[in-house]
C-alpha cells in the first residue's frame, strides 16, 4: 500500500506529459526539434515510472489516493484521485510506450518532412498523452469521464492538425460530434450513477464504498444506500445506467453505429493515427468497460448487448476492409473490427481475454500504422496501394516489421495476435455453450460473427501486404522510394519484436493442452491478492458473472477441455490461414495483380461506400436537424418576434390617438378631470355597494 516509492511518484506519470504540453506550446519554436525533445523526454520519463509502477504492482501492491476535492458537498462529494492496480498499471505502460515511440517516429514523419506548426503538434501530443494517462489512472467514473472528453478534444485538434486544408477540419469535426453524441448518453450515465449510488468511485476506500460493490450488494442482498429512479427496480435501473455509459464506449471505441468518424480520422498525421488507434482515443472505450467490469458483470442483458455489438462490429468492419484502396483505410477498418473483438470478449465473460487483446492490439496496430507511415514517407504521401507494389526489397526493415504486425493482426500462430484473439473466441464459445437460455444463444451468435470475421481479417490484411510490398512496382515512386531514417526504423523494430513475442505473457492454450501450470501470467497478474481490490480481480468478476448473471463456462462440450481448446484454436487459425491463402492466390502469386474484388459487383459498391452509414448520419445532421433549426428560426423571427413587434406597433398607433387629448387647453383638462372623478366614484360606488 502506501509508502511504495513507485506509487508516491506516480502523479509524475501524468505530470510529465502535461509539462511537455506547456513547454512545447510556449517555447517549442526556440527548441531543437521544435518541441519534440520535450515530448520524448516526458514520455520516456512516464514510461520508466509506469514500468516501475507495473513491477511494484506485480509484487502484489495496489494504490489508491485522493488528490484533490472537486466538490466538497457533504452528501455527495466529488474528487480526483489516482488508482493503480494491475489493469491500470498495464495500460499506463502501453500508453506511455506507444506515446514515446510515436514521438520518436514523428521526428521522421513531421520534422524530416519539413512540416510547419510543429510546436502546436508536439504540445497537442503531450496534452493527448497526459489526458489518456490521467483517464487510465482515474479512481472514479466522473474523473474518467472528464479525461475521456479531453482525449476527444485532443483527437479533434490532432485530426484537424492540417487546418489549412478542407478535409482535416471536417474530419475532426465529425470525430468530435459523433463521439459527443455517444458521450451524451455517457454523461447521463455518470449523472445517474452518482445520483443512484452517491459516489462514482471504482474502488472502495475507508470512507466510501465503490459503486460496483454497492450495485452488487443491492442485487445480491437487496441492499441499501441505493436510490433508483423513474420507478425502475434495481436490476432494470442498473441495466439502463450500464447501457447509457456504453453509449460513450460505442462512440469512442468506434463500434457500430457510431464507428463512422474513425475512417475519416485518417486525415490526421499518421503518427497520430497510430496513437489514436492503438493506445488512446479508441482504446479508452474498451478500457472503461474493463475498468468498471464489476458493474457490467452484474448485468446479463447489457453483457449480451456488448457481445452482440462487438461481434457484429468485428464482422461488419472486416467486410469493408476487404475492398479499400488506401493503406490507412484498410487499417482503419481493421481497428474498428479488432475493438469489436474486445467488446465481444467483455460481453462474453472474457475479461482477461479482452485486456490481453487490448494489449497485443496496441502493439501490432501501432506497428502497422507506423509501418504505413514509413511507406507513406517513401511514397511521397501517396496512400493508394495500387500505386505501390514491390516495396519489399527496397525497404526491408519496414517490410519485415509490417509483416510481423500483419501476421499478428491476421491471428497466425505464434504471433501475439493469435493468442489473444484465440482466447477471446474461446471464452465466448465456452460461455455460449455453457450458459442457459437466451444468454447462451446470443453469445453463440456473437461468437459466430466473430469467427467469420477471422476469415475476412486474414484476407484483407494480406491483400494489403501483397499489394504494398510484393509484385512489381506499379509507379515510378514505388520503384524509387524515399529512404527513411533511424527515427522511423527504431520504433518499428521495437513494436515488431513486441508484436511477435508478446503472446508469451498468456499462452493459455499451451497450458491447458500440455498441462504446463503457471504460464498464464496475465491471468495471475490480473488476479492480485491485495485487500484494496478484492472486488476488482478477474477471479471476482468470474464469480459475479456466474452467480449473478448466470454465465457458465462449459469447456467439455467437445469432450475434454483440451479438445475444446484445440477445436476453438483450430477453427480460428484455419479460417485465418484460409483468408491469407486466398489473398495470396488473388494478389500474391502474380507480380502484377488485378483488383479481384471488382468481381463482387454490387457487394463491392456497398462495402466501398461503407454500407451507406455516412450518408444517413450526414442526413441526420444536415438533412434533418439543420432544416429543423431553420424552421425554428423562421418561427422565432416571424411568429414570436412578430407578436412582440405587433404589440409594440399597436401601442405606438394607440399612443398617437391618445396623445390628441393633450390639447394644452386648460378647460379641456378640467373637464377630463371632472369626468374622471365621476367615473371613479361610480366604479367605487358600484363595487363598494353604495347603491345597494
Amino acid at each position: 500500500m502506501a509508502g511504495e516509492l513507485a506509487f508516491d511518484i506516480a502523479p509524475a506519470i501524468v505530470a510529465l506529459p502535461f509539462a511537455s504540453f506547456l513547454v512545447a506550446l510556449a517555447l517549442g519554436n526556440y527548441m531543437p526539434k521544435k518541441g519534440a525533445s520535450a515530448g520524448i523526454a516526458a514520455t520516456a520519463g512516464s514510461l520508466v515510472l509506469s514500468l516501475f509502477a507495473l513491477v511494484t504492482v506485480a509484487g502484489g501492491s495496489t494504490y489508491q489516493q485522493d488528490l484533490f476535492t472537486w466538490s466538497a458537498a457533504e452528501e455527495v462529494p466529488l474528487h480526483f484521485g489516482i488508482f493503480i492496480d494491475p489493469l491500470s498499471a498495464m495500460m499506463l505502460v502501453i500508453v506511455s510506450l506507444i506515446a514515446l515511440l510515436v514521438h520518436v517516429f514523428s521526428l521522421g514523419y513531421m520534422n524530416d518532412e519539413g512540416e510547419t506548426g510543429l510546436p502546436r503538434y508536439y504540445s497537442e501530443l503531450g496534452l493527448f498523452t497526459f489526458s489518456m494517462l490521467a483517464f487510465v489512472m482515474a479512481d472514479n467514473l466522473l474523473m474518467a469521464f472528464m479525461f475521456f472528453e479531453l482525449v476527444g478534444l485532443c483527437s479533434y485538434l490532432l485530426i484537424g492538425f492540417w487546418f489549412r486544408q478542407d478535409g482535416p477540419p471536417s474530419a475532426a469535426k465529425k470525430a468530435f460530434l459523433v463521439t459527443r453524441f455517444g458521450d451524451y448518453f455517457f454523461l447521463i450515465g455518470v449523472v445517474g450513477i452518482v445520483a443512484t449510488f452517491g459516489t462514482a468511485r471504482f474502488v472502495s476506500t475507508d470512507g466510501q464504498t465503490a459503486f460496483p460493490v454497492l450495485a452488487e450488494e443491492a442485487l445480491v442482498e437487496g441492499g441499501h444506500g441505493v436510490t433508483t429512479f423513474l420507478g425502475f427496480g434495481p436490476e432494470a435501473w442498473f441495466s439502463i445506467l450500464g447501457l447509457l455509459v456504453l453509449g460513450g464506449v460505442i462512440g469512442k471505441s468506434a463500434q457500430f453505429p457510431l464507428h463512422t468518424w474513425l475512417p475519416d480520422a485518417m486525415e490526421g498525421p499518421t503518427p497520430v493515427s497510430a496513437l489514436i488507434h492503438a493506445a488512446t482515443m479508441v482504446a479508452a472505450g474498451v478500457y472503461l468497460v474493463a475498468r468498471m467490469y464489476g458493474f457490467y458483470a452484474l448485468l446479463p442483458t447489457v453483457l449480451a448487448i456488448i457481445a452482440l455489438t462487438g461481434g457484429f462490429t468485428a464482422l461488419f468492419a472486416a467486410t469493408m476492409g476487404v475492398v479499400k484502396r488506401e493503406i490507412k483505410q484498410v487499417l482503419a477498418y481493421s481497428t474498428i473490427s479488432q475493438y469489436g473483438y474486445m467488446m465481444l470478449a467483455l460481453g462474453g465473460g472474457g475479461y482477461v481475454a479482452a485486456t490481453f487483446h487490448l494489449m497485443t492490439h496496441a502493439f501490432f496496430k501501432a506497428l502497422l500504422f507506423l509501418g504505413a507511415g514509413s511507406v507513406i514517407i517513401a511514397m511521397h504521401h501517396n496512400e493508394d496501394m495500387w500505386d505501390m507494389g514491390g516495396l519489399k526489397n527496397r525497404m526491408p526493415v519496414t517490410y519485415y516489421t509490417f509483416l510481423a504486425g500483419s501476421l499478428a493482426l491476421a491471428g497466425i500462430v505464434p504471433f501475439a495476435g493469435f493468442w489473444s484473439k484465440d482466447e477471446v473466441l474461446y471464452e465466448v464459445l465456452v460461455h455460449g455453450l455453457g450458459s442457459a437460455g437466451t444468454t447462451g444463444t446470443m453469445l453463440l451468435a456473437a461468437y459466430a460473427m466473430g469467427l467469420v470475421a477471422v476469415l475476412f481479417t486474414g484476407f484483407y490484411t494480406f491483400r494489403m501486404v501483397f499489394l504494398t510490398f510484393h509484385g512489381e512496382p506499379r509507379t515510378e515512386t514505388a520503384r524509387d522510394p524515399e529512404p527513411v531514417r533511424w527515427n522511423v526504423k527504431v520504433p518499428l523494430v521495437v513494436l515488431g519484436a513486441l508484436a511477435t513475442v508478446a503472446g508469451v505473457v498468456n499462452m493459455v492454450p499451451v497450458e491447458k493442452v500440455l498441462g504446463i501450470k503457471g504460464i498464464d501470467y496475465l491471468h495471475q497478474f490480473l488476479d492480485p491478492e491485495s485487500e484494496l481490490v478484492t472486488n476488482l480481480t478477474a477471479h471476482h468478476y468470474g464469480e459475479v458473472l456466474h452467480d449473478v448473471s448466470g454465465y457458465t463456462a462449459d469447456a467439455t462440450a467437445f469432450g475434454s477441455e483440451s479438445v475444446t481448446v484445440l477445436v476453438s484454436a483450430g477453427l480460428s487459425l484455419g479460417l485465418a490461414l484460409a483468408g491469407v491463402g486466398l489473398a495470396y492466390a488473388l494478389y500474391g502469386r502474380s507480380p502484377t495483380p488485378e483488383e479481384h474484388t471488382d468481381k463482387l459487383g454490387g457487394l463491392k459498391t456497398l462495402w466501398y461506400n461503407n454500407y451507406y452509414q455516412d450518408e444517413y448520419q450526414v442526413w441526420l445532421a444536415s438533412g434533418l436537424t439543420l432544416p429543423l433549426a431553420k424552421v425554428a428560426d423562421r418561427f422565432d423571427q416571424g411568429i414570436i418576434d412578430g407578436v412582440v413587434n405587433g404589440v409594440g406597433r399597436t401601442s405606438l398607433t394607440g399612443g398617437s390617438y391618445v396623445k390628441r387629448i393633450q390639447t394644452g387647453i386648460v378647460t379641456n383638462y378640467a373637464a377630463l378631470l371632472a369626468l374622471g372623478l365621476v367615473a371613479l366614484l361610480l366604479i367605487v360606488g358600484v363595487t363598494g355597494g353604495w347603491f345597494a
Binding site: 466538497a72 472528464m146 489549412r164 453524441f181 454523461l187 449523472v191 445517474g192 429543423l628
Partner: protein, 521 residues
C-alpha cells in the same frame, strides 16, 4: 448599523463614472480602466475578508451589512437602506468587477467616438449592477434594478450598429414592462402579508412566507388562495424577460447584434444574471411551495429554452447571433437547476451564472476582436482566420470548447452540478418530481447541439484557406485586445479545475434554499 464597505464600493464607482464623463475623450479609456481597478481590487478584498454564513434571506449572517430605516411610510412597510453579501452574491459581485474591467479594455479598439461618455456610462452601469447584487431591501434593490437599464439603453442606442435605435428601444420597453409586472406582483404579495411584515426588507418577507408560513390576505380582486400563485407568475414573467426564457427572449439577439462588443460582454456576462439572481432570491426562495407545485411547468420552460435556444443558434450565420442564442440555451440550465431544489441544483445554477458570465464574455470578446479587423461577422464571409490571427483564434477555440462543456473548464462543472442536482430531485417524495431525471436527460441533449453549431461555425470561419469578403487588411490583434481574452480563459480553467474557489461559498448559501423543498441531497 452601517458597515460602509458596500456603500464605498458603489460610491467610488459612481464617482468614477462622473469623473470620466466630465473628462476629455483623449484619456477616457485609460482613466476609466484604471478607475475600474478600484472596485475590482475592493471586491477582491471583500472576498478575502468575507465571513458570511448561510443564505441572506433565510436567516444567514451576511457580510458587510448595513441596515438603517430610510423612509417611514406610516401604515405601509418601511423602506430601509439594507445591503449585505452572502455566498450567492459574493461571486456575482466579483464577476461584475472583473468583467467590467476586461470589457473596458476590450473597448479600446472599437470605441472611437464620444469616449468619455461611453466609458462613464459603463462605470455607471457597474455601480447599478453592484447595487442589484448587494441590496436586501426591495425598494433599494428595485432602484438599482431600474438604474441599470438607463446606461444600457444609451450604450446600445448611441454606440450600436445600424439598427441600434430599434434594438435599444425594444430592449428598454420590453424589460421595463417586465419590471412593472414584476413590481406589481411583488408589492401585492407584500401588502397581502399585512402586519406580518413591517419593512420591505427581503429577508423579512422571506421569513414571513417560508418560516412563519403566513398566508397572504386577499387583495382587491385577487383571492387569498391565488395571491401567491399570481405573485409568483407575475414575478416569474418579469424576471424571465431578463434571463431570457423562451418565449420572451426576442429582444436579446437584436440587442446583442447591435451592441458594441464591450456592451455585449456586460449584457450577456452580467445583466442576464440579474434575471436568474432575482428568480432565485424572490420566486424560488420566497415562494417554494408555488415553485414546487408548478415544477413541471418551470422545468418545461427550462428545457424549451435549452433545446429551442440551441436550435436557433444552429440556424444563425452571424457569429454574434450564434453566441447570443446560445446564451438563451445556457441560461436555461440555470432555471433547470433552480427548479430542482437540490444542493447541486441550486448551487450549480448559481455556479452556472458565474461560469456563463466568463465564457460568454470570452466568446463575445473574441468575436469582437475578429470583427475589429474583418468588419464582418458573417460565417459565410470568411474562412481560414486561424492562419491570420493565431492567438485570437486559439483562445476562441478554447472558449468554444468551454461553451461546449469541456471538462476542467468552468462550464462543465456548472452543467454537471445542474444535471446532477436535477437528476437527484427525482428521488424526492414530492408529486411530479419523479419526472426530473427525464427532464434532465432531455435538457442534456443541449450539449450535443452546442457542439454542433460551434464546430460548424469554427470549421467554416477559422479553418481552410484564408479568404475574406470585405476589403480590410487582416492582421494580428494588438496585445490589449488579446490580454482580456487570455485572462478570461485562465479564470475559466481555474474555476473548472478548482470549482471550490466559488462553489464552497455558493453551497453555503444555496443549501438553505434547497432545504425548502427536498433537502440538501
Amino acid at each position: 448599523m452601517m458597515d460602509g464597505t458596500i456603500e464605498a464600493l458603489i460610491a467610488v464607482t459612481l464617482v468614477g463614472s462622473l469623473v470620466v464623463m466630465a473628462g476629455s475623450d483623449r484619456y477616457a479609456a485609460k482613466l476609466a480602466t484604471a478607475w475600474s481597478l478600484i472596485p475590482l481590487v475592493g471586491s477582491l478584498g471583500m472576498w478575502a475578508t468575507y465571513d458570511a454564513t448561510g443564505n441572506a434571506l433565510l436567516g444567514g449572517e451576511t457580510a458587510f451589512t448595513s441596515r438603517e430605516t430610510w423612509l417611514g411610510l406610516g401604515p405601509l412597510p418601511d423602506i430601509e437602506w439594507f445591503v449585505g453579501i452572502d455566498g450567492i452574491s459574493m461571486p456575482l459581485v466579483v464577476l461584475t468587477t472583473v468583467l467590467v474591467t476586461l470589457a473596458l479594455v476590450s473597448a479600446w479598439t472599437p470605441i472611437d467616438e464620444r469616449q468619455s461618455q461611453f466609458y462613464g456610462l459603463v462605470l455607471f452601469l457597474e455601480a447599478g449592477l453592484l447595487g442589484v447584487f448587494t441590496a436586501l431591501d426591495f425598494f433599494v434593490w428595485f432602484v438599482f434594478w431600474e438604474a441599470v437599464l438607463v446606461p444600457m439603453y444609451f450604450l446600445i442606442g448611441v454606440w450600436g450598429g445600424p439598427r441600434r435605435k430599434y434594438a435599444a428601444i425594444k430592449m428598454f420597453v420590453y424589460t421595463n414592462i417586465a419590471s412593472l409586472v414584476m413590481f406589481v406582483g411583488y408589492t401585492a404579495l407584500v401588502f397581502g402579508l399585512g402586519d406580518a411584515v413591517s419593512t420591505f426588507a427581503m429577508p423579512e418577507t422571506a421569513e414571513a412566507l417560508v418560516v412563519e408560513n403566513v398566508q397572504p390576505d386577499a387583495l382587491a380582486f385577487v383571492g387569498a388562495e391565488t395571491l401567491k400563485v399570481a405573485a409568483f407568475a407575475a414575478m416569474f414573467a418579469g424576471f424571465a424577460v431578463k434571463v431570457p426564457v423562451v418565449p420572451v427572449h426576442t429582444w436579446l439577439p437584436d440587442a446583442h447584434v447591435e451592441a458594441p462588443t464591450p456592451v455585449s460582454v456586460l449584457l450577456a456576462g452580467v445583466l442576464l444574471k440579474m434575471g436568474t439572481y432575482a428568480l432565485l432570491r424572490f420566486n424560488f426562495t420566497m415562494l417554494p411551495d408555488v415553485a414546487r407545485a408548478n415544477m413541471p411547468i418551470i422545468a418545461a420552460f427550462a428545457v424549451i429554452s435549452i433545446i429551442y435556444g440551441a436550435m436557433l443558434a444552429l440556424a444563425q450565420t452571424d457569429l454574434k447571433r450564434i453566441v447570443a442564442y446560445s446564451s438563451v440555451s445556457s441560461m436555461g440550465y440555470v432555471i433547470l437547476g433552480l427548479a430542482a431544489y437540490t444542493l447541486y441544483g441550486v448551487g450549480g445554477a448559481t455556479f452556472q451564472m458565474i461560469s456563463h458570465g466568463l465564457i460568454s464574455g470570452l466568446m463575445f470578446m473574441a468575436v469582437g476582436v475578429i470583427y475589429n479587423t474583418t468588419h464582418t461577422r458573417m460565417v459565410t464571409d470568411m474562412s481560414g482566420m486561424a492562419s491570420k490571427m493565431p492567438y485570437t483564434v486559439g483562445i476562441l477555440i478554447a472558449g468554444a470548447f468551454g461553451y461546449m462543456g469541456l471538462p476542467l473548464m468552468s462550464g462543465f462543472a456548472a452543467e454537471f452540478y445542474v444535471f446532477l442536482g436535477a437528476f437527484q430531485a427525482g428521488a424526492f417524495d414530492v408529486a411530479n418530481y419523479n419526472l426530473m431525471p427525464a427532464f434532465t436527460a432531455v435538457a442534456m441533449f443541449g450539449i450535443v447541439i452546442v457542439a454542433g453549431y460551434l464546430l460548424f461555425a469554427m470549421q467554416r470561419t477559422l479553418f481552410g484557406e484564408f479568404s475574406l469578403e470585405t476589403d480590410y487588411e487582416v492582421g494580428r490583434a494588438p496585445l490589449h485586445d488579446i490580454a482580456p481574452l487570455a485572462v478570461l480563459l485562465v479564470l475559466i480553467i481555474a474555476l473548472g479545475s478548482q470549482p471550490e474557489i466559488f462553489f464552497e461559498m455558493i453551497r453555503e448559501a444555496s443549501g438553505p434554499v434547497a432545504d425548502l423543498v427536498g433537502g440538501g441531497a
